[in-house]
């Protein structure tokens, strides 16, 4: 079904393209948001990648790999978006009320997520992308390498370095006093 849509879209059928990207839109936005840590910038990256997808759809040689190609466009758009404006990022601090009915477990979960958020923001866009492609999209190594436009070996080493960098960032975060964490964020 998707193969047929890709072939039709490649011949200029905009309705087929609409069906293709309509299915993928939410997933693309979530992926971009994970990499960029911003809804607005994710929306810009998705818009840019989908526009590029239509204009360059004749570059898709294998219709069965349309999804990988589309995600590759998205990753490139995220890289550009991340470098476009070197603005100071403001971390969203989720505060749980001291007497929250959610209890101690919920507070711990929130603390872990905040810690992950701060650690993840310390990574480069390339490191974030490799983690998102592997852990969120769940792509196999070969497919992930295609999406990231790198060799498989490079993907594996980059994944290892990104994981290590995140671990180091999390460990550093644990050693940093709370007041200092807010200023870093």
């Amino acid at each position: 079904m998707q193969r047929d849509l890709v072939l039709r879209a490649r011949n200029g059928d905009h309705d087929a393209f609409t069906a293709l990207v309509g299915d993928a839109y939410d997933r693309l936005h979530r992926t971009a948001r994970l990499i960029l840590r911003s809804d607005d910038r994710a929306a810009d990256a998705v818009q840019e990648s989908l526009t590029a997808a239509w204009l360059h759809i004749r570059a898709v040689r294998d219709p069965d790999r349309f999804d990988a190609w589309l995600h590759r466009l998205l990753v490139h758009a995220c890289y550009r978006e991340a470098r476009r404006i070197k603005q100071r990022e403001v971390a969203e601090i989720h505060m749980a009320a001291p007497d929250s009915p959610a209890g101690r477990d919920a507070q711990d979960l929130t603390a872990v997520r905040d810690q992950l958020e701060r650690g993840f923001r310390r990574l480069t866009p390339e490191q974030r992308a490799v983690l998102v492609v592997h852990h969120y999209l769940g792509l196999a190594d070969a497919e992930a390498a295609i999406v990231l436009d790198i060799a498989i070996g490079t993907f594996k080493s980059r994944l290892h370095r990104a994981s290590s960098a995140l671990r180091v960032a999390l460990e550093a975060d644990e050693r940093t006093p709370a007041v200092a964490r807010e200023s870093i964020a």
Partner: protein, 453 residues
């Protein structure tokens, strides 16, 4: 956080929880609206090697590497493949087999449009649709313009200059790129249009240091420097586009003031520059040669004695003359009617059967410096029958300029200026189907696709 599996599970869980469906509800609609009015780019621009939309074009070599990565090749594999290709190509050259075919270019009934807009160069479909910006120079790039396709359509030359210099022409460069915008070479030049040799292998440009005419190969190697005639100097900011002689053996330049001729020929054989006689078609730089170089079309005006010194503009009247390139077989094809004058830029159709030219209607006395122009008209004359067809007009203060026929000769690319805004238009040679291609652009060239492709 102990152990890799725990860490991975925690990270995956966080991604799942953090990836909330926050996509803007109208985001997809905006994309679809924006793309619905456009068409996918042709495959030759969309294939690996073309740049991503919004990204600066990359150099040719890096694009090739990117393509290899896209195929999942390692560096070592790529190097081995590269060596194998080099060996194959070398062997083929030795046995005289022409294996090195140029990169494939689009085929089709119409060529593609290269145009300037707001200081950038774009390559678009023939009708201006799907533009891709290809000049994206350094941060201090002040602008670029005058895109010119090579006669074989394989390369594009344009001017680029920096904004940091008070005199942009002093920092101008001639840039050679392939049709997808990948820069092949660039070299210094002055603010005159790059001039391609008839065989598409060389480019002539003014050299800023010596103020001579320099001949560059498309590999960027300077092959020759042609000196000006003795006693002449290039006046800064007052120079003209060069013209390649149709036989490929000399460059024609215009010097002002000059005697006995404005036009000089700078030969490649090391000979001294020589003035072009007034009865030679080449004595006007706006002479147009047919595609095979055997015929010339140009405008002749009344003798200078009939003009007044108060009128520096082209005089009234004028005749559109067709001749053989060797000056024989002269034939007056069109003569201006009273109150008209012919503009000095006729253009041949690809099959050399028609010529486009501009007529200016003017009822002001000849001695006035600022004639009361009534309007411009774009016309096409059939060389065999002399029948004239009017294609477009610009009454009042507007103006027209004809740029080029389409490769098939069925359309004409022209500029139309109205209220100080110049835009690109095209129309069929019968005057129908006039289309606005690019608003705000006055510099463009249609790609010529040779008949063997």
């Amino acid at each position: 956080m102990t152990g890799r599996d725990d860490f991975d599970r925690m990270l995956t869980g966080w991604f799942e929880a953090d990836a909330q469906p926050t996509a803007p509800v109208d985001g997809l609609g905006r994309v679809l609206d924006a793309t619905r009015r456009r068409r996918p780019r042709p495959a030759w621009l969309a294939s690996p090697g073309s740049h991503w939309v919004g990204e600066a074009p990359t150099a040719g070599s890096s694009v090739g590497v990117a393509s290899l990565w896209a195929l999942g090749l390692r560096w070592s594999t790529a190097i081995i493949l590269l060596l194998a290709v080099v060996a194959l190509v070398g062997g083929a050259i030795l046995v005289g087999v022409r294996l090195l075919q140029p990169s494939r270019l689009p085929t089709g009934q119409l060529g593609h449009l290269a145009h300037e807009l707001n200081g950038d160069i774009y390559v678009a479909d023939w009708d201006g649709e799907n533009p891709v910006r290809i000049s994206d120079g350094p941060t201090d790039c002040g602008g670029s313009g005058d895109p010119t396709w090579s006669p074989d359509g394989r390369h594009l030359a344009y001017l680029a200059w920096r904004s940091s210099d008070s005199d942009p022409c002093a920092s101008a460069s001639v840039v050679i790129s392939d049709p997808a915008g990948h820069v092949v070479k660039s070299f210094p030049g002055l603010c005159s249009r790059a001039c391609w040799s008839p065989d598409s292998t060389r480019v002539a440009a003014w050299d800023k240091l010596s103020q001579n005419v320099a001949i560059y190969g498309i590999d960027g190697v300077r092959q020759r420097s042609l000196a000006l005639p003795p006693g002449h100097q290039l006046r800064w900011g007052d120079f003209y586009d060069t013209l390649w002689s149709p036989d490929g053996r000399s460059i024609l330049i215009k010097l002002e003031p000059g005697t006995p001729s404005y036009i000089w020929e700078l030969p490649f054989d090391g000979g001294t520059p020589r003035p072009v006689p007034a009865d030679d078609p080449r004595s006007t730089l706006t002479v147009a040669y047919s595609q095979d170089g055997t015929r010339a079309a140009f405008i002749v005006y009344p003798a200078p004695a009939a003009r007044t010194i108060l009128d520096p503009l082209p005089p009234y009247g004028g005749q559109l003359v067709v001749a053989a390139a060797d000056r024989t077989q002269r034939q007056v094809l069109v003569a201006a009617e009273p109150g008209q004058k012919l503009r000095t830029a006729p253009k041949w159709s690809p099959r050399s059967d028609r010529i486009a030219f501009i007529v200016v209607a003017d009822d002001a006395p000849i001695a006035l410096n600022h004639p009361n122009v009534l309007g411009y008209e774009l016309r096409v004359v059939d060389v065999a029958s002399g029948a004239v067809t009017s294609l477009a007009s610009a009454p009042g203060t507007g103006s027209l300029d004809v740029l080029k026929f389409s490769p098939e000769g069925d359309r004409i690319l022209f500029t139309k200026t109205d209220a100080d805004v110049t835009s690109l238009w095209s129309a069929r040679t019968d005057g129908s189907d006039a289309q606005l291609l690019v608003e705000g652009s006055g510099s463009a060239d249609w790609q010529w696709l040779p008949a063997d492709r």
